[in-house]
Symmetry: C2
Subunit: 157 residues, 2 copies
DNA sequence: CTAGCAGTTTACGTAAACGTAAAGCCCGAA
DNA sequence: TTCGGGCTTTACGTTTACGTAAACTGCTAG
């Protein structure tokens, strides 16, 4: 269990925002956010946000000591969380974000991201295959056990 | 990635033995095995076997310093590896093996194992659901990106 | 006798994503 | 003024399943 665990709130049916926020509905047109704002909006801990910053995923400005997150930071966070949901490591996400920052008109980066997404989808389908095989193996084992049980049902009662 | 990674040999089509070995075809009716025998037969490292012993999963006898594995040890190893494949932790496997060792006619243990197997299968199906959702999310994101790309295809030329 | 190989033990290292103190700063309320 | 929050930093702890290095013993071939 790593990739698809959401330790906190056990997968509630929250609307998971896409890459592009329609018109930022939700946090009505704010320009700047505190760490609390983001922890509440995205249900992540403050520790997590600082950790992401430490890893180069976010880079909020400061008001003295306090962190001030821009809408860009917020969009990046959204991207990070989406990446996590689909099984990218934070490192992979960071690479994509870094690429995006390089500029180049964004065309190349979009294509790179697209390719990564599709690779990831392939990998996920493989994982699904492995899970299917595991389920099948469990079913076989269960049958074996049931057979053993019914074999003993006679000579034991 | 944890549960379904087979770092070594990348999922070759080897025949994965069930819980009960038909008539021990393979290692023709041997009674005792060296650590090398088992590493080759099951494609695990010697380190792994010692680690499993350290964790109470195996308990081979000794010939001086050297480990001597019985057929029972070998069957337990088979069980451990099967358990791993379907996503049990070594700790969970150990608990099941310990239960089995308690005796009690084995009926209860078989039922316990059966229950755990079925729970595990349910959990695996949940994971598969999460993977399906992740795949869908990737597909959506890919579409978004393609849209952005084709939107830029014009004004960039 | 000497390599060399197989085996052993002990014990630290690794990866991932944070959790959890510990300790201190700053601000508003009572 | 003191207390409680909320924020900050630093840094060690957690989990799982081994990998890997170091240092030693014992056996066999040459």
């Amino acid at each position: 269990m790593t990739e698809f665990d959401h330790p906190g709130h056990t997968a509630e049916p929250r609307q998971e925002p896409g890459l592009v926020a329609g018109f930022d509905r939700g946090a009505a047109g704010r320009e700047v956010f505190t760490i609390r704002d983001l922890t509440k909006e995205f249900e992540v801990s403050a520790r997590t946000l600082r950790f992401y910053e430490e890893k180069g995923l976010l880079a909020p400005r400061r008001n003295g000591e306090k962190r001030l997150y821009s809408r860009r930071d917020r969009a990046r966070l959204r991207y990070v969380l989406m990446g996590k949901r689909v099984g990218f490591s934070l490192e992979e996400v960071r690479e994509m974000l870094d690429l995006y920052d390089l500029g180049d008109g964004r065309r190349t980066q979009l294509q790179v991201a697209l390719a990564k997404f599709q690779e990831r989808a392939v990998r996920l389908e493989e994982q699904r295959g492995e899970i299917d095989r595991a389920i099948a193996e469990l079913a076989r084992a269960s049958l074996e056990i049931q057979a053993m049980l019914s074999a003993r049902a006679n000579d034991e009662g």
